[in-house]
C-alpha cells in the first residue's frame, strides 16, 4: 500500500506542470471569454460584468462561414489522406523485405521534418497566381484567383502533413493484423478489393479513426497553411483567433472562439470513437 502511494508521488511533477501550464491558462482563457470588450482597449474591461455576448456573437452567419471553411477542408484533407495513405501503408507494412520497410518509414519521417514554411512557399511558388504553373492553369481556363482553386491549394498544403502522418499511424494498425486474414478472404473467392473492403479495412478501423482524428487536429489547427496559401481570401479559425488577439486585441472574443473550438474537438473525438466501436462489430 505504502509503495503504491509513493508511486503516485512520481506523478506529481507531471501533474504540476500540466496544471500550471495547461489547465490554469485554459481557465484564464475560459474566464476571459465571459468578459465584455470595449473597442480600443487591450483585453477585457477590468471588473466589468460577465456576459455571454462573446458566444452569442458566434451564431452570426459570418462566423459560421469560418467554422464551415475550416472543418470542411479539414474533413476533406483527413478523408483524402486516409484514402491515399491506406494503400501505401499496406504496402509498407506487408513489404517483403525488412529493409524496404525501414527505408520507407525513414523517408516518411524525414518528409515530416521539412519546415512547414518551406513547403507552403514551395506550393505557392508552384501553384500560386504568379506560380510556375500559372500559365498552364490559364491555358486550361482555371482561374487561380477563384475561391475554389485556393481551396484546392490549401487542401494540397494540408495533405502534405496529413498523408505522411496517416501512413505512419496506419502502418502500425496494419502490422497488428494477421496477414492470413486477407489471404483467407482471397482463398474464399473475394477479389483483392473486396477482401480489403470486407476484412482488412474493417479490422483496421481503430487505426483509421486515429489517423483521421490526428489529421483533423492538424487540419483544424492549421495556421501557416491558410495564412499564406489562402492569400487573405480564405481564413481558418486559427487565423481568426490570431487576428482577434493580436490585431484588434479583442481578447474575450478570441477566447470564446478558442473555447468553442476546444469543445468541438472533444465532441469530434467522442463521436469518432463511438463510430469506431460500432463499426468494429458491424
Amino acid at each position: 500500500m505504502k509503495s503504491a502511494r509513493y508511486k503516485l508521488l512520481l506523478l506529481l511533477p507531471a501533474v504540476a506542470v500540466f496544471v500550471l501550464f495547461l489547465v490554469f491558462p485554459i481557465l484564464i482563457v475560459l474566464n476571459e471569454s465571459f468578459h465584455t470588450f470595449e473597442p480600443g482597449r487591450i483585453g477585457s474591461v477590468e471588473g466589468g460584468p460577465l456576459t455571454l455576448a462573446n458566444y452569442a456573437e458566434l451564431f452570426q452567419p459570418v462566423y459560421g462561414q469560418y467554422f464551415a471553411q475550416t472543418y470542411v477542408l479539414a474533413i476533406c484533407s483527413s478523408a483524402v489522406s486516409i484514402v491515399f495513405a491506406f494503400p501505401i501503408a499496406y504496402c509498407i507494412a506487408r513489404a517483403e523485405f525488412a529493409w524496404m520497410q525501414k527505408a520507407s518509414i525513414s523517408a516518411i519521417v524525414g518528409l515530416m521534418f521539412l519546415s512547414s514554411l518551406v513547403r507552403v512557399y514551395a506550393l505557392e511558388l508552384t501553384f500560386g497566381s504568379t506560380g510556375v504553373l500559372a500559365p498552364l492553369m490559364s491555358i486550361m481556363d482555371i482561374n487561380t484567383n477563384s475561391r475554389l482553386y485556393i481551396n484546392f491549394v490549401i487542401l494540397a498544403g494540408l495533405l502534405q502533413y496529413c498523408i505522411p502522418m496517416s501512413i505512419l499511424i496506419l502502418i502500425g494498425a496494419i502490422k497488428n493484423l494477421n496477414p492470413r486474414l486477407t489471404e483467407a478472404a482471397l482463398s474464399l473467392g473475394a477479389p483483392a478489393l473486396a477482401a480489403h473492403l470486407t476484412v482488412t479495412i474493417p479490422l483496421s478501423i481503430r487505426g483509421i479513426v486515429s489517423a483521421f482524428l490526428v489529421s483533423m487536429t492538424l487540419g483544424v489547427s492549421a495556421f501557416v497553411i491558410p495564412l499564406i496559401l489562402g492569400r487573405g481570401r480564405i481564413l481558418f479559425i486559427s487565423n481568426l483567433i490570431y487576428s482577434r488577439f493580436s490585431e484588434i486585441a479583442n481578447y474575450p472574443s478570441g477566447a470564446a472562439i478558442s473555447i468553442v473550438m476546444m469543445v468541438l474537438a472533444l465532441l469530434l473525438i467522442l463521436v469518432m470513437s463511438r463510430l469506431a466501436t460500432s463499426l468494429e462489430r458491424a
Partner: protein
C-alpha cells in the same frame, strides 16, 4: 482424371531455392500428406497451389485447367490455415457464408448451406457466436466449415492440428478424417508432424530441401524408407555406422560397425558400395534374458548382450535403452503388457533382432 497436377514446379526466393522440380498428382477424393522439416518447401508448395506464390517454372493444373496465372480468388481452392484465420469481426455464420457469396451461391441457398456445414462439423446452434467466444477446437471446426462451404476442388490443410493440445489433437484428427471422407474432399495436408501426416494421408510425400524424396502409403514410408533422411525423419531408429562389410551368407551380410559390433543385414544389391549406415527400428529389437539359450542365433538373426541403462514407461510403450558392447546404445520399445517383467537399469539382457529388419543405406 487427376484433380491436381503439379509438373516440375520450381520457386526461388533470391538465391534460395524453396521448391525445385516438384511434380505431384492427386486423384479425386484422395488425401495426400506433404511431410517434411521446416524449410523443406512444403509450405511454399501449398502457397503455389493456393495461388499466393507464383512458381518460377513448371505448371499447376486444377481439374485439368492450367491455373498458373490465376489469382487465389480465381481458383476454387479451400484453405485451412494453421491459426485458422477466422474473421474476428464476423459471426460463425458470417464466416462460413463469406466464400459462398463470391463463389456464386444463390442467396436463397446460403442459410441452409450454413446450417448443413455447421452440422457437418458438429457446431449447430453456434451461428451467432463470434470467433473469440469459441474454444480452439471449435474455431478449427468453423475454419474447416468455411473452407468446405464453397465446395472447393482441392482442400489444403496447413498444419491443421498443430495449434491444439495433444488430447484434442487426437480427437480432431479422427473427426477431420471422417469429415474429409464424407464430403469426398481431395485434400493436401501440409505438416511437419509425422503422426498427423501418416494418420490423415492415404499417401504421404516426404519433402526435403525443396524436392520430393519419397511418395508412398504410410506403412510403406515407414517400413521401406527410400533413404537415410526418410528413415531418420519418420519414426525412431537406432543407427550404426558401418566401417567394413564382411562375409555374405544366403543373402545376408555381416557388417562391422564403428562401435565394433557385428550386425547381420540384407546384402546390398551388387555394384552398390555406398551402404555405410544401418538402421534398426526400436520395436524390432526384442529383449530376452541374457542367460537364455541362443536359440535365435543364425545367419538371419542378430543377438548381442548388453546392459540396461534406462527404462521409461510411457503408458502403452516401455522405452528401454540398452548399452551394447563397444558403448553403442540402442533404444528398444516393448509393449506394456500390464505386467512389467522387472527390467531395471544395470540388468544384463540379450538384444535380438532379425537381419531382415535391418535397413541398409
Amino acid at each position: 482424371m487427376n484433380v491436381l497436377e503439379l509438373k516440375d514446379v520450381t520457386k526461388k526466393y533470391g538465391s534460395f531455392t524453396a521448391v525445385e522440380n516438384v511434380s505431384l498428382e492427386l486423384e479425386p477424393g484422395k488425401v495426400l500428406s506433404l511431410l517434411g522439416p521446416s524449410g523443406c518447401g512444403k509450405t511454399t508448395t501449398l502457397r503455389i497451389i493456393a495461388g499466393f506464390a507464383v512458381p518460377d517454372g513448371g505448371t499447376v493444373q486444377i481439374a485439368g485447367e492450367d491455373v498458373g496465372q490465376l489469382k487465389p480468388y480465381e481458383r476454387n481452392v479451400g484453405l485451412l490455415f494453421q491459426d485458422y484465420a477466422l474473421f474476428p469481426h464476423m459471426t460463425v455464420a458470417q464466416n462460413v457464408a463469406y466464400g459462398m457469396r463470391y463463389r456464386g451461391a444463390p442467396a436463397a441457398a446460403i442459410p441452409s448451406r450454413i446450417k448443413q456445414m455447421l452440422s457437418l462439423v458438429q457446431l449447430g446452434g453456434m451461428e451467432a457466436r463470434y470467433p473469440n467466444q469459441l474454444s480452439g477446437g471449435q474455431q478449427q471446426r468453423v475454419a474447416l466449415a468455411r473452407a468446405l462451404a464453397t465446395d472447393p476442388k482441392v482442400v489444403l490443410l496447413d498444419e491443421p492440428l498443430s495449434a491444439l493440445d495433444a488430447k484434442l489433437r487426437l480427437e480432431l484428427r479422427i473427426e477431420l478424417k471422417e469429415i474429409l471422407r464424407s464430403v469426398g474432399a481431395t485434400t493436401i495436408v501440409v505438416t511437419h508432424d509425422q503422426e498427423e501426416a501418416l494418420s490423415l494421408g492415404d499417401e504421404v510425400v516426404i519433402m526435403h530441401a525443396g524436392g520430393i524424396v519419397q511418395r508412398g502409403a504410410p506403412t510403406q514410408i515407414y517400413q521401406s524408407p527410400a533413404n537415410k533422411f526418410v528413415a531418420e525423419f519418420v519414426g525412431r531408429s537406432n543407427w550404426f555406422q558401418v566401417i567394413r562389410s564382411g562375409q555374405s551368407v544366403a543373402g545376408f551380410t555381416s557388417y562391422i560397425t564403428s562401435d565394433g559390433v557385428e550386425i547381420r543385414a540384407k546384402s546390398p544389391p551388387s555394384g552398390y558400395n555406398g551402404g555405410s549406415d544401418l538402421c534398426v527400428r526400436p520395436e524390432h529389437i526384442e529383449l530376452i534374458d541374457s542367460a537364455a539359450p541362443e536359440a535365435l542365433r543364425g545367419a538371419e538373426h542378430n543377438s548381442m548382450t548388453g546392459v540396461v541403462l534406462d527404462v521409461a514407461s510411457l503408458g502403452p510403450d516401455v522405452h528401454v535403452v540398452v548399452e551394447l558392447p563397444g558403448k553403442a546404445r540402442v533404444l528398444a520399445i516393448r509393449k506394456n503388457a500390464g505386467r512389467i517383467q522387472g527390467l531395471a537399469p544395470g540388468q544384463c539382457v540379450r538384444a535380438v533382432f532379425s537381419a531382415a529388419d535391418v535397413l541398409v543405406f
